[in-house]
């Protein structure tokens, strides 16, 4: 059996610079100017054009998966809630430990899926013209962690409601090859005892809503052992590892607990302008394989560890080029 190397990204792209300017003018700079799901024709048209740009970039560089780009996600991973009816967006709060901010989504009523992300994906599917499409969503635990509950009243119920909400969003998706669930909160605010099992169940629920391969990508470090062990209980196809932020603990987890048949390796830094050499990414891929000895993966996804919205646009393009070339190099070496 031969390992397939798939170049991809977790989405969350930067807007092209022209779109940054145009949307600044069209939308404004204050918190009530951000996306709430009912933007007007001019704004919609601008996003459509920007989406074409980033899909062109992915096709030009030869990435093996095409993402929509999540350019409308003003609130980053909190976006799916920011456009939901049962949610009020409050003040600007810090996004993890970064110099980024998002609007605090406060859930005030029963959550209902919106179809917002499905319609983005449909537009992307048309542009992808048969190339493999990849959906991107916040993992249920991270979305739960980013949100504030003023309705469900119980952490377990709230997490389950978020999982059901995301499940409903996935139900409406057009056909897609892979689904990336981004779960930085599993690293940044690890679930406590009991909660770790519930987080895994929530992920399982969302993953079960699609026939596509599901990759769960935690980042900004490695998972605590127990959290990792619980994550492996979920019915998912691959776990992602942020080897940029933490190499040793990620390797330890894989060696100690094993992993899924497929893996995603976050080997390019999504938050630094230093562009990795494709050869270096390929070498690091081989090095990880070597550390694991007997394990032979079916599919290895080569990706940035995080979204790339925090990079200047030109550097984001360069990162995608490096990843696409690295996957090609790895295929050649493996063959």
């Amino acid at each position: 059996m031969m390992t397939e190397y798939v170049s991809t990204t977790p989405g969350l792209y930067p807007l092209p610079d022209w779109a940054k300017d145009d949307l600044s003018d069209l939308k404004g700079h204050q918190k009530h100017d951000l996306i709430s799901g009912d933007e007007d024709v001019a704004i919609t048209a601008t996003y459509e054009e920007a989406r074409e740009d980033v899909i062109d970039v992915q096709q030009d560089t030869g990435l093996d998966r095409i993402v929509e780009g999540q350019l409308r996600w003003d609130d980053m991973l909190a976006h799916p809630l920011a456009v939901a009816d049962a949610v009020e967006t409050h003040g600007i709060v810090r996004y993890y430990d970064n110099n980024n901010f998002y609007r605090e989504p406060v859930v005030t009523d029963d959550l209902e899926p919106t179809g917002d992300i499905a319609s983005e994906l449909e537009a992307a599917a048309e542009l992808a013209q048969g190339d493999d499409l990849q959906a991107v969503l916040p993992g249920p635990y991270s979305l739960y962690d980013l949100a504030t509950d003023e309705h469900y009243g119980d952490d377990g119920d709230f997490l389950a409601a978020i999982a059901a909400f995301l499940e409903g969003e996935v139900d409406a998706f057009p056909a897609h090859e892979t689904l990336f669930l981004l779960e930085p909160s599993l690293v940044e605010t690890p679930p406590a005892d009991g909660e770790d099992a519930r987080a895994s169940e929530a992920i399982d629920r969302v993953a079960s809503a699609t026939d596509a391969d599901v990759i769960v990508q935690p980042y900004w470090g490695a998972l605590e052992e127990k959290v990792y062990a619980h994550l492996l209980d979920a019915d998912i196809d691959a776990v992602g590892f942020d080897f940029v932020a933490n190499q040793d603990d990620n390797l330890y987890n894989i060696q100690e607990y094993g992993t899924t048949d497929n893996v995603a390796l976050g080997l390019a830094d999504g938050q630094n302008t230093l562009v990795e050499d494709p050869e270096a990414i390929r070498d690091r891929t081989e090095w990880v394989d070597g550390q694991l000895g007997v394990t032979e993966f079916e599919t290895v996804y080569l990706t940035t560890n995080t979204g790339t919205f925090y990079l200047p646009y030109g550097k984001y393009v360069a990162k995608l080029e490096a990843l696409a070339e690295a996957a090609d190099l790895a295929e050649v070496t493996a063959a």
Partner: protein, 358 residues
């Protein structure tokens, strides 16, 4: 020399009161609209508005805002940072080793040109000596020089060249030290290091302290060094910051209505406190009475000799008339409290924390 003594040099000859609550600003001030228009013209390739015109526009603006600070009655003035675009970009353009690759998102459609450190950082042209000399020449008042600190310069840049941000921070600290030496040679006696990044990553106070040791190395004691930190959870950096080699901490406290004041009461605040008494992000001028009440909050933490009066933060996002109103009321309030202190009408006996059983 104690911190109080190097403050005394900023007392105006005609100061009316025995007590002296030094009034100053954090630094930035709203730019006149015509300055922004001049910038657009300068950047417009079709316009004949050239570099000399642009320089003259900035000079005019610096003179104007310095005079506005004097008119408000401030004891120590700044030019309102009229020549600076942004607090990291401005310095990164002047330091060898930085490059710019385009804007990145902070939130929504707010971006900044986050620079990348791509090679060893080196001191090249002077950063602020011209700015200082111009302002000092334009004013009879003492001039404070705000400088973005090395920790913030490192953390708000992409680091491509150094092993980690701490290594970059220390290198940058040596460059800041070099710049301060030049400023001191030019006559500057009041330097404020701005480290807003510290409040967002409070676990890093140790590296900020190490950087400050580099910054103040061989700087004479009569030069007053302040540290400005804003928008964060101060309990995570206090009392550790008392070890920093600075004379004064400039803190944003009005914005949170002094809910963090108690943090600084125990252990005793051993440095000077430059207390934020006006909110920099509310476009409404606080009354003199309100500001007097805020100043008295500071007297719960330090005695009058250790108290300095300032807005929370740079006021550049406010309408200019509001910014001016805040400065003028702030000075009036400080003078009123000084008079009350002279008259013995304010009880400055600070609440002594109950000693712990140990």
């Amino acid at each position: 020399m104690s911190t109080n003594e190097n403050k005394e040099q900023f007392r105006q000859p005609d100061h009316e009161h025995d007590h002296f609550l030094l009034t100053t600003v954090v630094g930035s001030y709203p730019k006149p609209k015509w300055l922004n228009r001049a910038k657009d013209l300068y950047e417009d390739e079709d316009s004949d508005f050239d570099a000399d015109n642009w320089q003259e526009a900035k000079d005019d603006a610096a003179r104007l805002i310095t005079a506005e600070h004097e008119r408000a009655g401030l004891d120590v003035v700044v030019d309102g940072e009229m020549r600076r675009n942004e607090m990291v970009e401005f310095f990164a353009h002047r330091i060898e080793g930085y490059e710019f690759n385009g804007p990145v998102k902070v939130w929504g459609h707010n971006y900044f040109d986050k620079p990348s450190v791509v090679s060893e950082v080196e001191y090249d042209e002077s950063w602020l000596v011209d700015e200082y000399e111009f302002t000092a020449d334009a004013s009879d008042r003492p001039v404070k020089v705000p400088i973005t600190g090395p920790y913030t310069l490192a953390n708000w840049s992409f680091n491509e060249a150094y092993e980690d941000d701490d290594a970059l921070t220390v290198e940058l600290a040596d460059l800041v030290n070099e710049e301060i030496e030049k400023l001191v040679d030019a006559g500057a006696r009041y330097i404020q290091i701005d480290e807003p990044a510290l409040a967002t990553t409070p676990d890093d106070h140790a590296i900020v302290g190490e950087a400050l040791e580099h910054i103040v190395a061989d700087i004479p004691e009569e030069v007053r060094i302040g540290l400005h930190v804003c928008y964060g959870d101060y309990s995570r950096i206090y009392p550790e910051i008392l070890e920093f080699p600075v004379d004064e901490f400039d803190l944003e406290l009005a914005n949170g209505d002094y809910d963090q004041l108690d943090v600084f009461k125990d252990p005793e605040f051993s440095k000077d406190l430059a207390l934020g008494v006006c909110d920099a992000h509310v476009a409404e001028v606080e009354s003199v009475e309100q500001i007097e009440a805020n100043i008295k909050k500071g007297l719960e933490v330090v005695p009058p000799e250790q108290l300095v009066i300032s807005p929370d933060c740079g006021v550049k996002l406010l309408p200019r008339d509001v910014a001016y109103g805040k400065m003028a009321n702030m000075v009036q309030a400080a003078r009123n409290v000084e008079a009350n202190l002279d008259a013995g009408e304010i009880d400055v006996e600070r609440g002594v924390p109950t000693p712990a059983d140990d």
